[in-house]
Amino acid sequence: MPAKSVLLYELPKYTSARKVEKDTNSLLRLSKKEVQAILKKSGAPASAIKAFTKSRIRVSHKGAGFGAETVLLAVSFAPLVKALTPLLVPFSKSAAKVAEKIALDTWEMLKEKLWKKKHVELKEPRKRLTAAHKKYKTKD
């Protein structure tokens, strides 16, 4: 699976992965117009929309932490890429790459909608480790 098919985000407060997944996929089904525009921009056949909007974006928790702070949200659109790639083969030599680009663009559109319509804000994960320590060597 291409590495970009899974993106990580901070876990939004008071929202579970299950809820984000449900909201995301319901928004995907309601965004046929936008998806059609994305497909057109990438040179994909318009007929791909059916298979594309039928597949699911999967959202799960990444990491098991003592507090919510250490748990991330993993958004995987591998099913979208999987559904789209065979449909693109006749039109593109690098079908998988194009499918991934389409999935990424779709996800960006959905992420914005998640914030505007469902008030779920997904933030890039903060740096997990502290900044490099100052040099400190032992003497004796």
Partner: protein
Amino acid sequence: MSVPSSLHPFDEHVLTAKAMAFSVLARHAHLWIDEDLPLLFELETTIGKAELVRKVARDNVALPTFLESYVEHIESSVMPLVKKGSKLFELYLADLQNIQSDWPPICRQVDRWFDNLKIIGADYLERFTTEKPKLPPIRLEQRVSAQDCTLRGLGGDTNKDDDGCGRIITLFYDREAFGKESFLSIPYMLSHEFWCHGLCRLVSQKTGNGERAEEDDEVESDETFGTNPADGFEEGWMDFVQLEILGKELHRFIDMTAFEALIHSHSAACQFERIAQKRNAVVRHGVAVADRFYAFLEQSFENLSAKDLHSAFLQTSLDLNILSLRTSGKPELVINLGHKLGVSAAGERLRSEVLHDRDLVILSMHEQLQQDLSALLTPTGLPASKLFKLLKIKT
């Protein structure tokens, strides 16, 4: 196997020094009476002061020298505040000076605890699970990261390793917030990560008629190993179980006779503090259901010895924990079982007629549950699959 310490030497020195000074003080604190309390407060403040650490850290030194200097600075900072000779302070200092040369670096101590945990874990998987899976490769990392610490200057996190077959537990420290209770709370934090997440989902079970059949996709589940922080089973029920195990295996785990009682009481306090946090209502419910269920077994099966009951409860819990099934299966089990036991879930809305006759309803549910469990109980515990069936949960 534990990896070499990933803490920066300066961080390790500071954390070790604070751990030593606070832990020794905790052993003495009960002797201090009312009139000594202002001095005790002063002492606690001095031990945790960043200024003190800066003074000691003037030169880059090895740990024994650092600790020696740290103790000297505690003495010189607090001594002017002691008007008359304080026997208690002198006793504390003497204890500190005695112990400092043998006090291990914090990473080494925590690694030792973790190695003990793995021995106990392998033993429990063999003795108290039906499937008897092998202990997966689990390693420990230690990091300073204030933003990941949520309790007493500590934090914990479990993930799958790069190969996808082992687990990595990370213990986080907040160097500044590392205070008088932090060191004594590390065993609880380690034990939670190890039992609740390190040993979860070891045995795969193909999804039957669950809602998310695609969760069986191995590649996907490898990439997204994780737990909802509001998972009533892993974060709640299993937290109760790990505290029970910690209590039973205290000496084998800690191996520091002088501090075992303190660590035990701090571990119980940690659980209480954690579940008292507002955002942890579901975790609190999970702990309450496990606690109530254990008591219910005790009340319902008087013919079983305490040892057999303990084994049955442990086996049921560990069997459930090692089972890999759809995400919401185990949290649902906690809610359904809690309902039968009369432990309401957070935000649960009960029908008014149920509320009205709640006592009677619960009483009859208890009787029914007792009969059902009697039918399920085997010499080794309650089989997970039958428990799911009884509670009408799809697996």
